[in-house]
């Protein structure tokens, strides 16, 4: 194996720099190279790090800096990039990797304001993780992955948190949930926003939002995809769109004044909804055949509106526990089943079925 030495245009390799307006621009080509940079106690620290080859490693530490900026680029396979930005206000980190089996991690901690992390990966078997444990405001992360068997993980704490993810390909996974694996992922705080797009087959999304005023927009297209979304807190909203075949989703909203809008199109999809709390609202439509929606709401002043259209043999199983609730089910096509259950008093249920061989079951009252 041939090892190329570093080609560094400015300083590098474990040399701390303690001056303002630091600037580092480093290049390495070849295999199994290490590129490590530390910028400490500076303002306006900037680091560019570039590697091409296989099995290369980038490490960057920017500490006590204001307006830290860094960008890593790695081309090849089996490369590693780790960025740590600590303490300063205005941190921005971007990592770009192309090739297979690469790993990129961005840690951003303790900044009082304005944090951004970006990771872009193209290839197979890549891993991207952004950990923004800032307890601050205006935090943003995005991850873009194209290829197969890629994995993305996120953790954000603070307020006014935003996350955007786009995965294209097959068997890609997003884990930002404390319920999966050892990684304590998710968004924690107030005023949370997430936009997730997955296209392809066999993709998996696990996502958690905890706090108030959460907003999640999720779009999954393709076959055999899976979504598990959990929101705990109040004043939250979900817009969920899943298109394709044999996909399934579970959405949990635990809190009050939450709302869910969904669309599932294609055949053989399953959607399970759990809303726990008062004044919650869900509305959506399933377009296709053999679609199944299972909804369970617990609380008072709840609304569930479920539409199943342009297909046959779909099921709507809608349950509400509490008082003063409302269910509306509209099914068009043949062989649909609507099971509506409302316990307690002052309930309203409407079931409309158009087609042939449809079955409606309505149960109201103390069960």
């Amino acid at each position: 194996m041939r090892l190329n030495k570093a080609i560094a245009l400015y300083t590098l390799s474990l040399s701390p720099v303690v001056i303002a307006d630091n600037f580092v621009d480093a290049f390495q080509s070849g295999d199994t190279n290490n590129l490590s940079t530390q910028q400490l106690a500076t303002t306006d620290a900037t680091a560019f790090q570039h590697q091409s080859g296989e099995g290369n490693d980038i490490k960057l530490l920017q500490r006590s800096s204001e307006l830290s900026f860094t960008e890593q680029t790695q081309i090849g396979t089996g490369n590693r990039s780790t960025v740590q930005q600590q303490t300063g206000e205005g941190q921005t980190a971007s990592t770009h990797q192309s090739g297979d089996d690469n790993r990129a991690i961005i840690y951003q901690t303790t900044s009082p304001l304005n944090v951004e992390g970006h990771i872009t990966q193209t290839g197979e078997g890549n891993y991207a993780r952004i950990d923004q444990n800032t307890e601050t405001s205006f935090v943003y992360a995005d991850i873009y992955q194209t290829g197969i068997d890629n994995y993305a993980a996120l953790r954000q704490t603070g307020s006014e948190l935003s996350f955007e993810l786009n995965q294209t390909g097959e068997a890609n996974e997003v884990y930002a949930s404390n319920k999966v694996g050892s990684f304590d992922g998710g968004q924690y705080g107030n005023d949370l926003n997430t936009l997730i797009t997955q296209s392809g087959q066999g993709n998996v999304l696990n996502f958690l939002q905890t706090g108030e005023m959460q907003n999640a927009l999720i779009n999954q297209s393709g076959e055999a995809n899976t979504t598990t979304l959990t929101q705990t807190g109040m004043l939250s909203s979900v817009q969920f769109d899943q298109s394709g075949f044999n996909s399934q989703a579970t959405i949990v909203q635990d809190g009050v004044n939450n709302q869910l809008e969904y669309t599932q199109s294609g055949d053989d999809n399953l959607l399970t909804i759990n809303q726990i709390g008062d004044d919650n609202f869900l509305i959506g439509e399933s377009i296709g055949s053999n679609q199944k929606v299972i909804s369970n709401q617990i609380g008072t002043d709840l609304i569930a509106e479920v539409n199943q259209e342009e297909g046959s043999l779909s099921d709507a199983i809608i349950t509400q526990s509490g008082e003063h609730n409302y269910i509306y089910v509209n099914q068009a096509g043949d062989g649909h089943i609507a099971n509506v259950t409302q316990s307690d008093i002052n309930q309203n249920a409407y079931v409309i079925q158009t087609g042939a061989g449809n079955i409606s079951n309505i149960v109201q009252g103390s069960l």
């Binding site: 079925q353 079951n361 309505i362 109201q364």
Partner: protein, 123 residues
């Protein structure tokens, strides 16, 4: 209270109607086929016609009790075959001591002309 016996008492036997189509009278028999298991009452509207023809049906129901109210509407098209009873849909709901309900089944031809209607109510 024997709900089933009351329902049976209210059961309206087959209703026939006739329609002149192309100078030929059609006889349509429609009914509510009721079954009860525990507190659940299931009603399956049926239709029979000595003809081979496409019709439209609509079953509407309103139910109320202390627990609340429900409204159900089932509609669609069906094709009859001579000497065969066609089950159009099925509606089930639970019964309590204070339950009241009304139900109406209407069959029309594809032009919207009413062929047969039947109502069921309790109490």
């Amino acid at each position: 209270m024997n709900l089933r016996s009351i329902n049976k008492a209210l059961y309206l036997s087959l209703v026939s109607a006739s329609l002149i189509t192309a100078g030929k009278a059609l006889a349509m028999d429609i009914s509510f086929n009721e079954t009860q298991q525990g507190d659940m009452l299931s009603i399956a509207p049926t239709a029979q016609c000595d003809c081979h023809q496409i019709f439209l049906y609509k079953l509407t129901s309103k139910k109320s009790s202390q627990a609340g109210s429900s409204t159900s509407s089932q509609s669609g098209r069906f094709e009859t075959t001579p000497n065969q009873v066609k089950t159009l849909s099925q509606l089930s709901f639970n019964l309590t001591d204070d339950t009241s309900y009304t139900m109406e089944l209407t069959v029309t031809d594809i032009d919207g002309n009413t062929i047969a209607t039947q109502k069921l109510s309790f109490p």
